[in-house]
C-alpha cells in the first residue's frame, strides 16, 4: 500500500480547546507537539522538518525553545483560518519532494473573548469600512446564508439542527469546549446576532492547539501500524466573482468559491470522489457555513442539504457524518489550530479511536475543509 511517494499521518496530539487561563498559546502548541511525537513513538530529534503557525499567539518556531534546540528547519505560516492548512500544505510538499522524511505540523491560538475585531487597513480596505460598521465576519456569514436560503430553500430549522448536532457531538468529545447539548428550540430562541443567525449558531474565538507527525515512504510503516494516508492537500485563494468575507462589493458575475476549487483539486489529486467520503470535517464558523460548504465541497448538491440534515444523515449515526468532534461550533475557533483539529479528528475516526464520538459505521475515507478571510480554503483527503 505505501509507496515511496506516500505521505501519512503517523502521530496526532491535541491540547483541549476552550479557555485555559495561565497557559500561553505557545505552551499549548508545545504540549500538542509532545503528544503527537509520543503518539508516533518518536523523539523531537527525529523530526527533520517542521511548519506551524498561530494567528494571535506568537511565532510557532519559538516552540523549539520548549521542545529542544535541534536545528530543525521550522517554517512559520500565518494565513488566517487556513493557517493550519497552509502549514500542512508546506510539510506535505517537503515530504513529497523528498526534502524531509518526518515532519511536525503544529497550529495553536489564544484569542480574547468576543467577536474578532480585524482592522480594515490590514485587509486592503479604507478605515471608512470599519467606521461605517461593516467590518464584521458575522455579517458576511449572515448575508451569505440569507441569500443562499432564499435561493436553495434552506429553513431556519435546518440552521438550528446543524448547531444542535454540533453540541451533541461536542458533549461526547472530551477535547471540545461546549459540552452541553442544546435543543433546536433553545438554539432558535437564543439571542439574535445577525439575522438569521442566533448566538448558538456561531462559533466563538477560543483557545487550543493541535499537532501532527507526518512521514513519507518507507518511514511510514516503521513508525505506525495504523497510518492514515494524506492522499491530497489543496489550498486556494478566491477568484473573481466569488462571494467572500470583507467585500465592500461583489461582482454580479459569479464564480466558484475558494472552497469549491480547493475541494475539487483535493479530490482530483487523491483520485477519490466526494461520493466515497465516509466522514468529513468542514468549516462551520456558523451553522450556515456548514450548510453551504456541504455543497461547495461536492459532498451534496446545492439545495439537497435541507433533506440531508433534517433526516439526520449528517449526525454520528448517519450516512455522511459531519463535524463529528463538534466542529468549530462546539470546539470554538482558535484560528491557527482549527484546520489541524479537523485532520486530527479524521485520523481518530479512521483509526477507530474516537471513543464516545466514534462513528459507528466503518470509515475508510475522510475529508477536511477549512475556510477563512479573505477567501482562502484548504482541503484534504485522508484514507486508511
Amino acid at each position: 500500500m505505501s509507496g515511496g511517494d506516500d505521505v501519512a499521518v503517523v502521530g496526532v496530539g491535541i491540547h483541549a480547546f476552550g479557555r485555559h487561563d495561565g497557559v500561553t498559546g505557545l505552551e499549548m502548541g508545545a504540549i500538542a507537539a509532545r503528544r503527537a511525537l509520543a503518539d508516533a513513538g518518536i523523539t523531537w530529534q527525529e523530526v527533520d522538518f517542521a511548519a506551524g503557525g498561530s494567528d494571535a499567539a506568537g511565532n510557532a518556531d519559538t516552540s523549539v525553545s520548549i521542545l529542544g534546540l535541534t536545528g530543525v528547519p521550522f517554517i512559520n505560516v500565518k494565513n488566517g483560518c487556513a493557517t493550519g492548512g497552509s502549514a500542512l500544505t508546506t510539510a506535505h510538499a517537503m515530504l513529497v519532494s523528498g526534502a524531509a522524511e518526518v515532519a511536525l505540523v503544529v497550529g495553536f491560538d489564544k484569542h480574547p473573548r468576543g467577536a474578532f475585531n480585524p482592522l480594515p487597513e490590514e485587509w486592503g480596505i479604507g478605515s471608512w469600512y470599519g467606521e461605517t460598521g461593516l467590518m464584521l465576519t458575522t455579517q458576511f456569514f449572515a448575508l451569505k446564508i440569507q441569500r443562499y436560503m432564499a435561493e436553495h430553500g434552506i429553513s431556519d430549522s435546518t440552521l438550528a439542527r446543524v448547531a444542535a448536532k454540533a453540541f451533541a457531538n461536542g458533549a461526547r468529545n472530551p477535547n471540545a469546549w461546549r459540552r452541553t447539548p442544546l435543543s433546536e428550540d433553545e438554539i432558535l430562541g437564543a439571542r439574535m446576532v445577525n439575522h438569521p443567525l442566533t448566538q448558538y449558531m456561531f462559533c466563538s474565538p477560543g483557545e487550543g492547539a493541535v499537532a501532527l507527525v507526518l512521514a513519507r515512504g518507507g518511514r511510514i510503516k516503521a513508525l505506525s501500524d495504523k497510518p492514515v494516508y494524506l492522499r491530497s492537500v489543496a489550498f486556494r485563494t478566491r477568484r473573481f466573482g466569488s462571494f467572500e468575507v470583507f467585500s465592500p462589493s461583489i461582482p454580479i458575475e459569479s464564480a466558484p468559491s475558494a472552497t469549491t476549487e480547493a475541494a475539487a483539486a483535493a479530490f482530483e489529486e487523491a483520485g477519490i470522489g466526494p461520493g466515497d467520503v465516509d466522514v468529513a470535517q468542514i468549516q462551520d464558523t456558523e451553522s450556515g457555513a456548514e450548510v453551504m460548504h456541504l455543497a461547495e465541497t461536492g459532498l451534496c448538491e446545492h439545495g439537497e442539504q435541507e433533506a440531508l440534515i433534517q433526516s439526520g444523515e449528517t449526525e454520528l449515526g448517519g450516512r455522511l457524518p459531519i463535524n463529528t468532534d463538534g466542529g468549530c461550533l462546539a470546539c470554538g475557533e482558535p484560528i491557527g489550530a482549527s484546520g489541524l483539529r479537523q485532520v486530527h479528528e479524521v485520523v481518530l475516526q479512521l483509526r477507530g479511536e474516537a471513543g464516545e464520538h466514534q462513528v459507528p459505521k466503518a470509515c475508510r475515507v475522510g475529508f477536511t475543509q477549512v475556510y477563512g478571510a479573505p477567501g482562502v480554503s484548504a482541503c484534504t483527503v485522508l484514507t486508511v
Binding site: 480585524p118 471608512w128 467606521e131 448575508l143 440569507q146 439574535m192 439575522h195 462589493s249 461583489i250 454580479i252
Partner: protein, 145 residues
C-alpha cells in the same frame, strides 16, 4: 447655525457629491468593462491597469440583508458608535449592470426588509462622529417605486 456646520464625507475617494446628490465612486475597466467598488487601480477580473473612476447608479435592488444586533468593537468602529449603538441593517444592493455594493441600510426592522426590494443611495451620520457622513441605502417609498 446647524446648516452652516460643515459636514464632511467619511472618505472623499469613496463618496462624491454631484449637485448635492451623493454618488458612490467605483471604477470601470477599459478592457473588460468590469465595475468595482470602491475604485481600484487595476481590474480584479482581467488584471488590466486601464481602469477609470466611475460614479455608480444610485438605485438598486436589495440582494441580501442582515441586522447587526451587537455593537462592533472599537476599533475599527468608533468608540462613540459603540456608546450610541442601536441595531442596524446591512445589505448588498445590486446596482443593475454594475456591481453589488455592501452598505448600511436605513431600515433595521427585519419584517420590512425583503430580497429584491428597490433601494436608493443616501447619506447618514457616521456612528460616533456626527459631523461626518457615510453612505447607506434606504427603501424606495411605495409611491416612488
Amino acid at each position: 447655525m446647524t446648516e452652516a456646520r460643515q459636514l464632511r464625507l467619511i472618505d472623499g475617494d469613496v463618496i462624491g457629491c454631484t449637485e448635492r446628490e451623493p454618488r458612490l465612486i467605483g471604477s470601470v475597466c477599459g478592457q473588460c468593462g468590469t465595475v468595482t467598488f470602491p475604485r481600484q487601480r487595476s481590474c480584479p477580473r482581467c488584471t488590466s491597469e486601464d481602469v477609470h473612476a466611475r460614479e455608480l447608479a444610485t438605485r438598486g435592488e436589495l440582494w441580501s440583508w442582515t441586522i447587526q444586533c451587537f455593537a462592533p468593537k472599537a476599533p475599527p468602529y468608533l468608540p462613540g458608535g459603540v456608546e450610541e449603538f442601536e441595531p442596524y441593517g446591512v445589505g448588498y444592493i445590486e446596482l443593475p449592470g454594475e456591481v453589488r455594493v455592501e452598505a448600511r441600510l436605513t431600515e433595521s426592522d427585519p419584517e420590512r426588509l425583503r430580497i429584491g426590494m428597490p433601494m436608493d443611495l443616501t447619506l447618514i451620520p457616521v456612528p460616533g462622529a456626527p459631523d461626518k457622513l457615510t453612505f447607506a441605502f434606504e427603501p424606495v417609498s411605495e409611491e416612488e417605486a
